[in-house]
Symmetry: C2
Subunit: 246 residues, 2 copies
């Protein structure tokens, strides 16, 4: 897939493509409408792969706190649900996630993922401490599952603007799912949050070009035809791994 | 979880439990009704884990045929859909699955999984050769995703009884998903098919007690409370693996 078919002798590897906002939308529409993937199915795949990326970036044995605590902040839409699934799998992997989910989605699709976490005894915070030190002391890292590429980043509203302000001040690492919340899909933000880890889902977005932290590509299921159509030039995933570090 | 809490000095490991038919039903009902798992989500988890089990039991490099062909036979209900998801992931893992799915489910849940395979250019057979040698020659193995524990095994109807008769004659290995098709959930069959590999999903069923082939437990997501309630005594899965060989 990655080889130029016209040059059998020099294996020229085409570079990985970084998607525009409209391409992200088109790919998702095609997956749902033409390939008949279900949202529940995709959210499960992405959340599971995100949890595995977290275990690679922050292995249990590497955590500095006594307890393997992780704060997962979930937004109101799909990115938030991916965060919920990620938290659930982290619990299975013996981390201790706590969820902050300030505005719950009215959709039963998202509510189901919430109940799964509640019934697994994952604690939900009723508010985020504004005292940054409390967050630094309590958790090893924060997972940012607040806003995904589906959200228009220009007008981030409350409570998310305050949350992002808090995240800009914390000292513990942030791992963002799909895109760093508050960033434009197509452009890195200079005054936004500054995640140490970015977990791009299915394909990286333009804002991740030049990302200097640890960058994972997670979620390995995209039909070959779509990879070709969008000229994604995805790297070869090792073995049966659902992710790769870029 | 596996340790008896009353004997802190001698770590007595309780044996893995093998489930009765009613326990299988109760666990599934509880997952769907109380924990609000979705069928689409569970089928994806189980199918993905099954595909990984196949790659462990039959690594690409171990296959004797020139092409990494696999025949996946899918039944009309949930077990069949798990087979469809397994086939899709095997394609992603660079196997060459072919699907035989003689009676397609009328439920859109199952149809969606079918479309995903069709759109990934996985070929569907229109009939199963009765000439056993043709199957032996064309495929490295057969994945039996025909009948699961949800089906009453006593009265296996056509076309499945003929298919099982064919499977009893083939020389290539069979890998069964959840239970070997045609077996009773609670008892091993002496005159049924004889799979080399059994991939028990979530917890093994009674019929798998004493199974002499390669036995995997796949699908790692069961909430701890349910593991405790049903005294499953699941083994510890290594790292982030979604399966373990028993």
């Amino acid at each position: 897939m990655n080889h130029s078919s016209n040059e059998p002798e020099t294996e020229s590897i085409e570079p990985l493509r970084y998607l525009s906002k409209s391409e992200v939308g088109n790919i998702e529409t095609e997956l749902l409408r033409d390939y008949r993937f279900g949202r529940q199915q995709l959210i499960e795949i992405w959340g599971h792969a995100s949890a595995i990326a977290i275990t690679k970036a922050f292995p249990l044995t590497s955590l500095s706190k006594k307890q393997p605590t992780v704060l997962v902040i979930c937004g109101p839409e799909q990115n938030g649900s991916i965060g919920l699934v990620c938290a659930r799998h982290l619990r299975i992997f013996e981390y201790e996630p706590t969820i902050f989910y300030p505005k719950r989605s009215p959709l039963s699709l998202h509510q189901d993922f919430t109940v799964q976490c509640e019934k697994m005894d994952i604690p939900f915070l009723s508010y985020l401490p504004t005292e940054v030190q409390l967050i630094n002391d309590a958790y090893n890292l924060v997972i940012d599952a607040i806003l995904g590429p589906e959200t228009e980043q220009r007008d981030v509203k409350e409570p998310y603007s305050s949350i992002l302000l808090t995240l800009k001040q914390i000292k513990i690492p942030i791992a963002s799912l799909d895109i760093p919340s508050g960033w434009d899909v197509e452009e890195a933000s200079k005054d936004g949050i500054n995640p140490e880890v970015l977990i791009s889902l299915t394909a990286p977005k333009k804002c991740a070009t030049g990302f200097s932290g640890k960058h994972f590509l997670a979620g390995r299921f995209l039909p070959y035809d779509m990879q070709k159509k969008y000229e994604l030039n995805l790297p070869e995933f090792p073995g049966t791994e659902c992710l790769i570090e870029l």
